[in-house]
């Protein structure tokens, strides 16, 4: 691996001295295979001499065998090879390549341009400082150019290189280049992309890649490599207000309490006033502790450990911030979601959200619109599919510190994680907090849940009966309610009959509607618990995630999941409403147990097996459980 430097042979120590002061630039290349993206990356690797002789020999052999350049070296082969992997069923989202020059080390995120494009490009763009957008000079600005540019602007990349490639195929014509650049700039301005450097080039012939081309004397600007080496990226990051999301609390002994994290914006020095978010407490930075001696300053991107002058409560997920310019704190946001999973995004469904080191529960309360990534048009939508982008309202289960993503990627970007599969299903960018959450203050009234329940000689709770249709949920719930009434308790029963015909009559049986159905029932239950009632809910509620959502709406101990367990065969035999028969005949779609799954509870408070237990016996068990849990005494 020989860098292009005579210093290596002549004075290696001087060479190392030069190279230890290199900076790092991460960039992404956008374009399809036809635009010559792989050829450009391959040539950058080749020209910076990051290719070994054995690799070069293999490249030459491959070029003769499968290359597209008539026996000449096909640089694309250096980075391709993705087709074979795709055949093996390996998901490639982003491949990372490395090369370096005297001035910089580069990390290139290379995303294969096929159906997974949006997801992959967003992933690669999330860590990039700059984007190289390739345009085929023969074709000009295409819909995909717009799509790439939209994602680049969305992910907050400020620097764009517009690489107008294949200039050799248009006779190195100045007018062709100017026309493309003018059209692109007009479009990019609307996206808010400002720093655009347009370079006419040919990756294939090597014009303006690393060497200035003498075939385009009308061009006076830098080559691609010259620009990548020189573009200034860090200044802005350090001028932002200081942020340190606390990743880990370092407590080796009683005397030391350090807060470890990676600086996400700005600069920090001992003596600086900092605020802890979300608590709002203030302190001063005492030390920035490092193995080789305390630091006098730490900047954006550095992983540090600092101590504070006062003993304030700080834990993982909190943000230490400049006292004069702290981030906002809110629990309702407008965000853009990029959906990354085959399982579509459903408003109302609870997800785990990870923002910085903080993990919490969140859900989309409203999908405002979907964005057509080719035209940027807003389209009405009820859900987001894989690779779709939408603007949504988001609600978190507690207030969190945040910045707008445009101001700070680290404190404004987040991922969504599915609670059951643990997959990363989406990525989100915070735009702003919805003021609604600030204005709707919960009033701590003197008459509260406890007072209302005590008045009725009970503690309020929800008995959530789940199970297959025909398992006996409503029958048992009715018996339980009668007994509670006889005991002088105050109850209310919610089931399909009284909810589906009124409150939820606008809902059908699609997956999205079933989620919304359960969400409304859960919210109504919560209000009734607040009113001091014992609420009996009988719904098939087949999905664990929705039952968990209901559980999480309530306080600890208020939600009792009652699994009314019957085999499908037994339920189908009973078929009290004749529904299974219709489902088998295909007259009812999405019927639980037939063509829609039932996910049994894993940790139900009660399991009632109604194959070997009568409804009366089951009701007794429920009453006993309530009594045992102390819910029948005020």
């Amino acid at each position: 691996m020989s860098h292009k430097s005579d210093l290596i042979a002549e004075d290696i120590e001087r060479y190392l001295e030069v190279h230890q002061h290199k900076s790092l630039l991460r960039f992404i290349t956008c374009g399809s295979v036809d635009d010559g993206k792989s050829t450009l990356i391959g040539r950058l690797l080749y020209e910076s001499k990051m290719i070994f002789e054995d690799q070069l020999a293999a490249l030459e052999a491959d070029s003769k065998k499968v290359g597209t350049q008539g026996g000449d070296i096909d640089f694309a082969l250096l980075v391709d090879g993705l087709a074979a992997e795709r055949e093996q069923g390996i998901t490639i989202d982003v491949a990372y390549r490395f090369f370096s020059t005297e001035k910089r080390k580069f990390i290139v995120a290379d995303t294969p341009g096929h159906e997974q494009y949006t997801r992959n490009m967003a992933t690669g763009a999330s860590t990039a400082d700059l984007a190289v957008i390739l345009i085929d000079a023969r074709k000009g600005v295409l819909p995909q150019t717009r799509r790439h540019s939209y994602i680049v602007s969305l992910l907050g990349i400020r620097h764009v290189v517009l690489a107008v490639n294949k200039m050799d195929a248009v006779g190195y014509g100045h007018e062709v280049f100017e026309a493309i650049v003018t059209e692109y700039r007009e479009f990019a301005r609307r996206l808010g992309l400002e720093d655009i450097t347009a370079i006419p080039m040919s990756a294939l012939k090597g014009d303006n890649v690393t060497e200035a081309s003498d075939r385009m004397p009308w061009y006076y600007g830098p080559t691609v490599m010259q620009h990548l080496e020189a573009v200034e990226i860090e200044e802005g990051l350090q001028q932002r207000p200081f942020r340190l999301p606390v990743q880990w609390v370092n407590r080796p002994d009683q005397d030391f309490r350090g807060f470890a994290g990676t600086v996400a914006g700005g600069v920090v020095r001992p003596g600086d006033l900092v605020r802890v978010l979300p608590s709002g407490r203030q302190s001063k930075v005492a030390r920035i502790v490092a193995q080789d001696g305390d630091l006098q300053e730490a900047v954006d991107g550095q992983s540090i450990t600092l101590t504070l002058e006062d003993e304030v409560d700080v834990s993982r997920g909190d943000v230490l911030a400049a006292g004069s310019a702290p981030p906002g704190v809110a629990d309702q946001f407008q965000v853009t979601m990029i959906w990354m999973h085959e399982e579509h995004m459903l408003p109302g469904r609870p997800y785990l959200m990870k923002i910085g080191p903080r993990m919490l529960n969140a859900s989309i309360t409203d999908l405002r619109y979907r964005v057509n990534v080719n035209t940027m048009e807003h389209v009405a939508a009820k859900q987001l599919e894989l690779n779709e982008i939408g603007v949504c309202n988001l609600s978190t289960d507690r207030p969190i510190p945040f910045d707008a993503y445009d101001d700070n990627r680290e404190t404004g970007g987040f991922i969504f994680i599915d609670k059951l599969t643990n997959d990363t299903v989406g990525a989100g960018l915070i735009h702003f907090a919805l003021r609604r959450s600030d204005n709707v203050h919960w009033q701590a009234l003197d008459v509260n849940k406890q007072v209302r329940a005590a008045q009725k000689g009970q503690k309020s709770c929800v008995l959530w009966f789940t199970g297959l249709s025909g398992a006996g949920k409503s029958t048992i719930a009715n018996l339980v309610e009668k007994r509670l009434l006889a005991l002088g308790r105050h109850t209310y029963a919610l089931d399909g009959d009284n909810v589906r015909h009124g409150l939820n009559k606008d809902l059908g049986f699609t997956e999205a509607d079933r989620v919304e159905n359960i969400r409304r029932v859960a919210e109504v239950s919560k209000l009734m618990v607040d009113a001091g009632l014992i609420v009996l809910v009988s719904f098939i509620s087949p999905f664990r995630s929705e039952r968990r959502m209901a559980r999480e709406l309530l306080d600890d101990g208020e939600f009792l999941e009652v699994y009314v367990d019957t085999s499908l065969a037994e339920a189908e035999k009973r078929d009290p409403k004749g529904l299974y028969r219709k489902a088998r005949l295909g007259q009812i779609k999405n019927f639980t147990g037939i063509d829609s799954p039932y996910e049994p509870p894993e940790h139900a408070e009660l399991r009632l097996n109604t194959t070997d237990m009568s409804a009366e016996q089951a009701a007794d068990v429920v009453i006993a459980k309530l009594s045992e849990a102390g819910l029948l005494s005020g």
Binding site: M1, S2, I8, I12, E13, L16, H19, Q20, H21, K22, S23, L24, F52, E53, D54, Q55, E85, Q88, I90, T91, A95, Y96, F98, S100, K105, D110, R119, N120, A122, T127, E234, Q238, Q247, W248, N250, P252, G258, A260, G261, T262, V267, A290, Q291, E297, G301, Q302, S303, T305, M340, K354, P357, R409, G413, F414, I415, I417, N422, D423, T424, A427
Partner: protein
């Protein structure tokens, strides 16, 4: 304005990754192979948790065929740094006498290294293991995630791998599943050497040229490190000035003739050299098994 160098940025990224694992996983471990990548990784870990010691043990899966100098170096380093080291040997393989000379490199590596690693991870119930692999090592690693998911059987399932955005890593897993975490993913071989040089990180002397007894086998120079090396009739170890570009089991690691006996000299030699790093590893040439397949089987 302070501008971070590329090594400072890489170090910061690696530290962030290590801290994330410690904060979110129950029982992490750092795989320590004694080589230069492990040396750099361990050095980063010492910094990441300072003034505390790294809150996880090191694990060395010993195939019993490592260079003697590697083992001596390992034991000395662990004592100096005050970190905890676990050494695991596949006892089953040892009893069956599995070794590279008797069973070939593929079987030896599978039994003593891959199986040994799985045994150790199961035995201690580690839910996350740091490895020193880099994306620049070969083409197929370029797309590897930093957090790589393994099933309860330690298999790598491409469908289980998750997109990694910003510095956000999803470490959630079900019971029995585990993570392989590669904090040095974005370093190149040159970065590692430069870091070792700048930070004065101790490395096994085998990386530096010295007179060593070697024999030539199929065009590869193999060091006669102990008496277990079977010599062919008439074969005499020759003293040559050699060094190693990678370290592993001595019968499987080719030496190169070299005069480079200082760090700048070996960096110089690496930069001027014309073959890639892995060529010294016999394991890659053996059989048609690709790294991809080995990974699916649980080789790190």
């Amino acid at each position: 304005m302070t501008t971070l160098t590329h090594l400072q940025r890489l170090e910061a990224e690696s530290i962030q990754i290590m801290r994330e694992v410690v904060a979110e996983c129950d029982n992490p471990v750092m795989l320590y192979s004694i080589g230069k990548d492990s040396a750099a990784m361990l050095h980063v870990a010492m910094k990441a948790f300072y003034p505390a010691k790294p809150p996880f043990p090191l694990l060395h899966v010993d195939t019993t065929w490592k260079f003697r100098e590697m083992i001596a170096f390992r034991d000395h380093l662990v004592e100096t740094l005050g970190v905890k080291l676990l050494v695991h040997i596949n006892q089953d393989g040892l009893e069956k006498g599995v070794g590279p000379f008797t069973h070939g490199s593929a079987v030896h590596t599978d039994v003593m290294k891959t199986q040994g690693l799985k045994q150790a991870l199961d035995l201690h119930k580690f839910d996350a293991a740091f490895g020193g692999a880099r994306r620049d090592e070969e083409k197929s690693r370029a797309k590897e995630r930093i957090f790589s998911f393994r099933s309860a059987q330690h298999r790598w399932d491409p469908k289980l791998q998750r997109p990694e955005l910003w510095r956000l890593y999803n470490t959630r897993k079900h019971k029995g599943e585990s993570l392989r975490v590669f904090p040095m993913s974005n370093w190149t071989e040159l970065d590692i050497w430069q870091y070792i040089y700048l930070e004065k990180i101790p490395i096994v002397p085998l990386y530096l040229a010295a007179e060593r007894p070697v024999v030539e086998r199929d065009g590869t120079l193999i060091m006669v490190d102990d008496e277990r090396m079977p010599l062919k009739p008439g074969e005499q170890p020759m003293m040559k000035r050699v060094r190693f570009r990678t370290l592993g089991c001595y019968p499987l690691t080719g030496a190169i003739e070299s005069e480079a006996d200082t760090l700048p000299a070996i960096i110089q030699e690496m930069l001027l050299t014309t073959t890639s790093e892995r060529q010294g590893r016999v394991i890659d040439h053996d059989s048609a098994a690709s790294m991809e397949k080995k990974k699916q089987e649980g080789y790190f």
